[in-house]
Subunit: 336 residues, 2 copies
């Protein structure tokens, strides 16, 4: 805590040369003021170090009593149980939950931190402009995805190590030539899992190939068609998500291959369908209920001024959620 | 209607070189902008022939500029693509979307209609207290689920007829003994699909059995275990949801049965996994993208005072979305 006197909204207004009402509007509903005014106000906010901390009182008076979840893709099956877990945990402490798509445009996104709709944010998107995210004046936690430039604590599993578990499992079954079907190129989870795959393959002295993908069923099916066309097919496949892995397995079977007789496939996430697919999918279990609950606990602690997790400059999550390999029917001994 | 393309507020703003918010303010509260700005805006209004629709102006003045989706279960895979479609369509008309769990308690729910967070509601839950729903003072549409006591228009498929399509398909394949795995007992979709199943089975002179279920994978697996224990197993099964059907198929295979050799299974919804499961699932396709888009169009029309769909006391949706049977690999001729 610095000794600096607390900056008031009036200070911002004076510096920006506008009324306090305009500052308030610029912060709570950016669309309601012109771009020039908005720019002046935001510059004054930055210059004065104005924190709506001093307006924590306002926040309480607004009584939003609500958490906001921001996710990059509302149709992604991986998120659905996290949504439900956040909802359940938040409800138990008297907060409602709203979910928004995080890809709604910069202006809209900026206003989320000011418009009084939420008291805290659970952010599932590592691909937003850090300036926008760091401009929010609300308790914030990064969950699952992260971005080192966000000034906020984060919760998640060790994706690099988890990819290593998948590779070790395949190598342990005798697979010496491995394929990774990647997630979206700039996604931090995809980058980390890919690196974990490459490092573990190298450590094990296994051959490593990487195909592009985007976490979806269709990208897994596409990778399977490409795999089937190879002269020397890798026999062990690690996909960056379960949907991708199930798409891969499904297409392999359509192409007449046996899983795991011809090829072993490991997914990532342990969505509900992983256990019910035929063959059931060996995968990395991410405890999504636990992740959602822990995120709410953390944001609530921050709202109460007692965060349990501090931001860490190394990008390593200080409170880590344990992931584990779940062995099922989609992996078996490498073909002779 | 004139042949001229409708002038939008954005056209006025562009010509005047100001933001749409400024145009809106200049028109609704002329004193709130400077004389020079006001002059520029009024000249642009004249030049473009912009007509102020008072309801549209109200729409712009609403501060939330947001739609609320209320759904009974955020972890249900069926909803995820509807969420994404609503998001996309809303975004195209400048609205943000928030999703909330609809089972958050009566007080919370009541306040949603008043707290200024949303300008309109897309309701996916037919099981709420009608007093609460009818107390909201916001444009509202019922999507997918419905409740005849809600005083709001609704959009959705004909669930009774769709269940009939499933039964006719099974009977056409020679199945004479049919099983329905039901959804949650008090759910309006479950009740309607069950009745559609019973009526179509009766019309076809087929034997009909109903097992309880709750739309989940696990309830489908449970039903399969119960089915396997029967002395005279029905050979044609219609499940109230795809998740339930995939759980049923998965468990049948684990129990050593062949699908569709021993039993044919039809789902409902056509979620993404239906096509990728092995065997791929015959199911009722619900056009979820179309449903999400149509719901947004309707709510926006209501916000502008020009609803396209009126509430109908008979409970029949006046604007119906077409569903269709998609034949895949999980159904085949009845065993001899």
């Amino acid at each position: 805590m610095t000794a600096r006197a607390r900056v008031k909204i009036k200070d911002v207004a004076t510096l920006a040369g506008v009324s306090t009402a305009t500052v308030s509007r610029a912060l709570s509903a950016p669309d309601s003021v012109g771009p020039a005014t908005r720019k002046k106000v935001m510059e004054a906010v930055k210059a004065t170090g104005y924190r709506i901390n001093s307006a924590a009182r306002d926040l309480r008076q607004r009584r939003a009593r609500s958490l906001l979840i921001l996710a990059p893709n509302l149709s992604n099956t991986f998120f659905s149980r996290i949504f439900a877990a956040v909802q359940e945990e938040a409800s138990s402490v008297g907060l409602t939950v709203q979910i928004s798509d995080s890809r709604i445009g910069r202006d809209r996104l900026l206003s989320l931190g000011y418009d009084g709709r939420a008291d805290g944010i659970v952010l599932l998107d590592g691909g937003l402009d850090p300036e926008v995210v760091n401009g929010w004046r609300l308790p914030l936690i990064q969950l699952s995805e992260w971005n080192d430039a966000y000034d906020a604590p984060r919760l998640g599993i060790d994706n690099h190590a988890a990819a290593g578990l998948a590779v070790d499992h395949l190598v342990g079954l005798g697979h010496r030539s491995l394929l990774h079907v990647n997630g979206p190129e700039e996604n931090v989870l995809a980058i980390t899992r890919r690196q974990g795959f490459l490092d573990a393959a190298s450590r094990n002295g296994a051959e490593a190939t990487v195909f592009p993908g985007d976490f979806t069923l269709e990208s897994g099916a596409e990778a399977a068609r490409r795999w089937a066309g190879l002269d020397n097919r890798p026999t062990g496949v690690f996909c960056a998500s379960d949907e991708c892995a199930l798409g891969f397995v499904s297409e392999c079977i359509r192409l007449g291959c046996d899983v795991p007789g011809d090829v072993s496939v490991v997914g990532f996430d342990d969505i509900d369908f992983a256990d019910r697919f035929v063959p059931s999918l060996t995968t990395i279990h991410q405890p999504r209920l636990e992740m959602g609950r822990a995120a709410v606990k953390q944001v609530v602690a921050m709202m109460q001024g007692t965060p349990k997790v501090e931001a860490d400059a190394t990008g390593t999550p200080p409170e880590r959620i344990e992931a584990a390999l779940v062995k099922r029917a989609s992996t078996g001994p490498a073909p002779a």
